[in-house]
């Protein structure tokens, strides 16, 4: 793959615009959650953290699944674009994980009376975050492109295997984390007004993911093009 640098920059700029649109839509989610979604009486305003925490958790689990699947496809097809897409997605997944892991304790402190509990859901989620931080560190540490892609693909697949355990941990283990209110076999157990805000917030997170991953992928193309240019100059 020898990409054109101008094309990479065009892709990155397109991603920047989409992510910018996502940020504007996020402001809309803030207004919707504050002004047009009822307050839950027993939890108070802290319950409104739910509209940021849950979509960020869904997005990061979805993104880490995409990284795992794309990495498996890379090991099969050996297409560098799949490796670049997996790496771009992993970075964005870590960003959403940071939101999940900071908004969660901010909800837990007033509701549970503690910032953190070492229960199965929280601990597995933290491990998944560390695993993908490790994935990004590994990529930064291995200079050879082929080795970097292979090693990191294996780590990503292992991370992907953890995703179902994170989701099912509330059923498999004794945990104080709330049970799923939407992603469960029966109908969502939320009033329509709350469910609407939650789903819109998730769609906005997906727009942000698409924008960020496109920008990151475009920057990856630029880096590849620059490396190819340097190689050409060295050969000449």
């Amino acid at each position: 793959m020898i990409p054109d640098r101008a094309r990479g920059l065009a892709v990155a700029r397109r991603g920047q615009w989409i992510a910018g649109l996502g940020l504007v839509l996020l402001a809309g989610v803030y207004i919707m959650a504050q002004r047009f979604t009822p307050m839950e009486v027993s939890q108070g305003l802290a319950q409104k953290i739910f509209y940021l925490h849950v979509p960020a958790a869904w997005t990061s689990l979805l993104v880490f699944s995409i990284v795992g699947i794309t990495s498996a496809l890379y090991l099969w097809l050996r297409d560098e674009r799949l490796d670049l897409f997996a790496a771009s997605s992993a970075e964005v997944g870590v960003v959403f994980s940071i939101i999940m892991l900071t908004t969660g304790p901010l909800w837990a402190k007033p509701i549970w009376g503690t910032w953190w509990q070492w229960d199965a859901r929280l601990t597995l989620t933290l491990f998944l975050f560390f695993l993908f931080v490790g994935y990004l560190s590994l990529r930064a540490a291995v200079p050879d492109a082929g080795e970097r892609a292979r090693y990191s693909a294996v780590v990503a697949i292992l991370g992907f295997l953890l995703v179902p355990f994170v989701h099912l941990s509330v059923y498999l283990f004794r945990t104080i984390h709330p049970m799923p209110v939407v992603l469960k076999p029966s109908a969502p157990s939320l009033p329509d007004s709350m469910l609407r805000t939650l789903l819109i917030a998730f769609v906005v997170d997906l727009v942000l993911y698409i924008g960020f991953v496109t920008a990151r992928y475009g920057l990856g193309l630029v880096a590849h093009a620059r490396a190819a240019e340097l190689e050409d100059r060295t050969d000449a």
């Binding site: 920059l9 996502g22 305003l45 960003v95 939101i99 900071t102 901010l106 909800w107 990151r216």
Partner: protein, 39 residues
């Protein structure tokens, strides 16, 4: 009668952190794109 807890500070902190992380990442990418354009 049940009293609604007063915990708006935690909600505000969560909303500020989320916006800071996402806007911060957007600015970081924008900087990289600018540097990439300069060569």
């Amino acid at each position: 009668m049940h009293e609604t807890p007063q915990n708006a500070g935690y909600m505000i902190a969560a909303y500020v952190v989320t916006a800071a992380v996402l806007v911060g990442y957007w600015i970081r990418l924008a900087g990289k794109i600018r540097r990439g354009a300069r060569g």
